[in-house]
Symmetry: C2
């Protein structure tokens, strides 16, 4: 039976980098013995332009029915002034919420060929391999009340609500412990329990989940601000970091930038396994944004997007060998010195988005 | 007339580093023509041990009456299990709230002598001089509801509330614009307006405040997660950063660590000028914490604490020349190669807390 992929390229460089993923999907269909069926939809500003919503009901329905959603990026100055409810990001947030993609996996890996591209010293980041497990459907992103109230006299009040329930913390920490077992066997949980009640509960539930069946995994607690510091000071101390939606947003971006290869980093957003089929809903997207400033110039790096499809192979389709092969093809292209502009050293020759995609296909052929 | 200082050493290394500040205060009284009167109080775990509260009413009253509070650090594993309401941090948060210290100034400066101590490449941080202006009495730190609710069935709900009113954003951005004028004339405002309603309001009010009298200052808006990235990528793009309480907590810690000199960085927390006297309530504290692991070993770096007193000279007492002199004395001690353990290169000789304090006094004598 074929596997259904919904491609949502989005805005800015999204469509260009999605183009390269399509080549990779075609390669696996033709030469990798797979049978992916792809459909395409609109999200973000491009969806707003087409029908006044950041994602249509029809595309939402397709996403719910897909085996995996491959997502590009959304947003750009063009839509800075659209109403809050239909801003580009709303499409992404709705996908996360309606598909219940509570577990966001963000690896921060330093590719050996790129160790010099980081603003950090080489010994600090060489060989870096950490995984941030971010809670994605709770916290201040979705809690109510979330509103601006007019108080009169020229005064307004902006309100957001951070809410976490026991079960939400339990399931995300379970994912972190499970993943740690396949890696360095260590989990660092980050919150601000010294200031936030949700942080107190977070700390308590992670500790309890650890006791209930994960005591073989090393667990450490760190305040989120100290965690940000430690990421900059000595990131290799971490294996898996588990944290809430907002801290995860901040910390994963810092972690991504450590590697000097933001254009390289993929992410997976996973739901709970279905009780009957065991399948998880899933969305895969690059960590980087829509980079409107370089859209259409051919300068975008397609690797994060292609590697996101690699995560789909690994987490949605259990095609571990194929995923490893794709990762290897990417590493080989880099080893040969191919660089898009974002990862080129000063003076180094660069290739375009399409050339990088073609090179990865050539490496797949060669493997 | 003499100036009243309340010293609150707190926990961990707090008392040791405060000891060195006392020498500096005495020096300015004896040789700098000043007349500081000091009183001392308890805060944090040490206050809890003494009378079951993280700060006593008596010490709160002293703080309210002081011309400036000089604060060490609070917290430590000893108090990990005390009730939330009387945890060490509650004392600091009450001081901030009751004294209405809404403006937290956190400079992140890279001392030339220490450019090698950072985990970042030298060219990325050499000459770095940014100022984070963090809102300190609002946001998720103090918003209500802030509670854990028992939902039954083993489920609890942790809730925190982020609240910002127009006037709070107005006054903190005013401080940022004023300070930018004395520096690089640029302000970057950071929030998450793509996810948070308080971020939408923040963005709107900062833009409006800029229009109302600060258009000579360059204003830039950045999403807080992108801001964290950019701090790691190329921090010298920033001059003044203005942001809310929680983002300020995270971002200032990341910024502090960039410099490689966490033990060096002071901060000032200021109230509004009094309508009659024009004086501001103020508290000065190092950015680093109580470091319980090294307390009592003589390894603590007293410089951040001493430089915090330097900020008091500058912002509470308008003793700019004295503040410059103290900063110069610190730089001179560093230039001579004096290093506490935290800032020593591998293999470099180190001095103790007391020796560093004495060296700075000697430099003051020599200037
Ligand atoms: C686009 C935005 C809503 C999103 C977020 O804040 O989660 C992005 O920053 C991310 O990290 O995926
Ligand atoms: C000690 C703690 C309450 C405090 C904060 O979160 O504000 C600290 O991290 C800081 O940055 O001053």
């Amino acid at each position: 039976a074929s596997q259904k992929l919904l491609l949502l390229p989005g805005d800015g460089i999204g469509p260009e980098i999605m183009q390269e993923v399509k080549k990779v999907i075609a390669w696996f269909n033709e030469k990798g013995g797979m049978s992916f069926e792809t459909d395409e939809g609109l999200v973000g500003g491009s969806a707003y332009d087409a029908h006044g919503q950041s994602i249509s009901e029809e595309d939402m329905a397709k996403a719910m029915a897909a085996d995996a959603v491959i997502f590009g990026a959304v947003g750009g100055p063009k839509w800075d002034d659209v109403p809050y409810e239909v801003r580009p990001e709303a499409g992404l947030l709705r996908l996360r919420k309606d598909m219940q993609l509570f577990a966001n996996l963000r690896p921060a890996i330093c590719y050996p060929a790129l160790a010099d591209a980081s603003s950090l010293k080489k010994d600090v980041i060489e060989g870096l391999d950490i995984l941030i497990v971010r809670e994605l459907t709770g916290g201040v992103y979705f809690g109510e009340p979330k509103e601006i109230i007019d108080l009169g006299n020229g005064q307004k009040r902006g309100i957001d609500t951070q809410v976490y329930d026991t079960y939400e913390i339990e399931r995300i920490s379970g994912v972190a412990f499970e993943l740690a077992r396949t890696r360095g066997n260590k989990v660092t949980s980050m919150e601000k329990r010294n200031v936030m009640k949700s942080g107190v509960l977070w700390n308590e539930v992670v500790t309890q989940t650890h006791k209930n069946g994960y005591e073989d995994v090393q667990l450490e607690h760190m305040l989120a601000d100290a965690g940000g510091m430690q990421l900059v000071r000595w990131p290799k101390q971490f294996d898996v970091i588990v944290t809430d939606n907002l801290f995860g947003d901040m910390l994963s971006d810092v972690a991504a930038m450590l590697t000097g290869s933001l254009g390289m980093l993929p992410s997976a957003s996973l739901g709970a396994p279905d009780g009957v089929t065991g399948k998880r809903k899933a969305l895969y997207e690059p960590v980087h944004g829509s980079a409107p400033d370089i859209a259409g110039t051919g300068a975008a790096n397609p690797i994060a997007m292609i590697a996101s499809f690699g995560m789909a192979l690994r987490y949605s389709f259990e095609e571990v060998a194929a995923a490893d092969k794709l990762d290897k093809a990417i590493a080989n292209a880099l080893d040969k010195g191919l660089r898009t502009k974002d990862i080129a050293a000063p003076g180094q020759a660069t290739v375009s988005t399409v050339e990088m995609g073609d090179a990865i296909i050539a490496e797949l052929d060669a493997l």
